[in-house]
Symmetry: C2
Subunit: 186 residues, 2 copies
C-alpha cells in the first residue's frame, strides 16, 4: 500500500470515529420530560427501539474504527518482522473489506430507520392516529436532529472508507481473468 492512501484512510477513519462518538453522546444524553394528557412522559433514546439500535451500531462501528486506526499506526511504523508480502496480507484485505462494507451499510440503515421514526414523531400520522410529539418535546427533537446530522456525516466517511478498502483489495486482481491475482505486482 502506498503512502498516499494510507494517510487518506487514517484521516477518514479519524473523522468517522469523531462523528460516531458525537452521535452516540448527543443521542445518549438527550432527555426531556413533559406532561401529555396530565401524565409525565419522558423522551429519551430508550423510548424508541430505532434509537437504541443507532446507539448500539454506532458504538460498535466506533470501536472497530479505533482498532483499524491502531492497525494503520502499526503498519505505518513497520519493524522488520511486520514487513510482509502482499499475498500474505490478502485475507486481511478481504476481512477489512467485508467489515467496512457491513459498517457502512449498518450505520446507514440504522440512521435511516431512526429518521423514519423521527419523521413519524415530527409529523404524526393522521390515518393511523399516531400523534405528533415534537411540538411537545422541543429541545429533545433539536438535539436528536443534531445527532442524526452527525450520524449521516459518519455514514458518508464510512462510505468513502468502504470504497477505499474495496480499492485496496480488488487492485490486486487481474483485469482479464476472474478472481485471479496479478502475476507481477506493478
Amino acid at each position: 500500500m502506498g503512502f498516499g492512501d494510507a494517510r487518506t484512510e487514517w484521516i477518514l477513519r479519524l473523522c468517522a470515529i469523531i462523528c460516531l462518538v458525537l452521535t452516540v453522546f448527543l443521542m445518549g444524553f438527550d432527555k426531556e420530560t413533559t406532561q401529555i394528557f396530565g401524565v409525565d412522559k419522558t423522551a429519551s433514546f430508550r423510548s424508541l427501539g430505532a434509537l437504541k439500535v443507532i446507539m448500539f451500531v454506532d458504538s460498535i462501528a466506533a470501536a472497530y474504527n479505533i482498532l483499524q486506526l491502531a492497525k494503520c499506526w502499526i503498519s505505518a511504523h513497520p519493524k522488520p518482522p511486520f514487513q510482509l508480502q502482499t499475498h500474505f496480507h490478502l485475507p486481511l484485505f478481504w476481512l477489512s473489506f467485508f467489515i467496512d462494507q457491513a459498517g457502512a451499510y449498518l450505520t446507514f440503515a440504522a440512521n435511516t430507520a431512526g429518521m423514519e421514526a423521527a419523521f413519524v414523531a415530527v409529523r404524526g400520522n393522521q390515518e393511523f392516529q399516531w400523534m405528533k410529539l415534537c411540538n411537545r418535546f422541543h429541545r429533545y427533537c433539536y438535539q436528536a436532529a443534531g445527532a442524526f446530522l452527525c450520524g449521516y456525516a459518519a455514514v458518508l466517511t464510512m462510505l468513502l472508507i468502504s470504497f477505499l478498502s474495496a480499492f485496496n483489495l480488488f487492485r490486486h486482481y487481474s483485469p482479464n481473468h476472474f478472481l485471479r491475482l496479478k502475476p507481477n505486482n506493478n
Copy 2:
C-alpha cells in the same frame, strides 16, 4: 471482462429485477379496510410515507437494472465497432460502480425505514401512545411482510452486484500506486 463474470452479472441482475418487481407489486396491490373507533380506515402503501419511498426507489432500481441487462446483452454480442479498449470503457465502469453502490444503499435504506415503520405498526409504542395496527389489519400486514422479504432478497442481490462492479472497476488499477492504471493488462 471475462465470460465468467459477465454471466454472473447477468444472472444477478435478472434476480434483482424479479425481486424488485415482486416487491413493488405485493406492496402496490396491498389494501385492507377496517373499522377503527367506528370509522372506516383503509391501509395501503399511501398511508405511510416510508412505503411510498419503497415503491419509488424499487421501481427506479428495477428500471436501472433492466437498462444494465440490455447493456450486458449488447456487450455479449459484440459487433466490430463495439469492441473497444479497456481504457475507453473505464468511465462506464466508474458510472456503473457509483450507480450500483447508490442502488444497493438506497434500496437497503428504504426497506429498513419501511421495516421500522412496520415494527411500530406491529408492536405500537406505549410511551408515545402510538397504537398497534396489525391486530386490525391482518391480511394487509402478512402481504406487507412478504413484500419486505422480497425487498431484502433484492437488496442482497444488489449488494452482490455492487461488489462485482467494484471488482470490475478496481482490478484495472495498479496495486502499488494510488489510482494509477496498470501498465500492462494481465
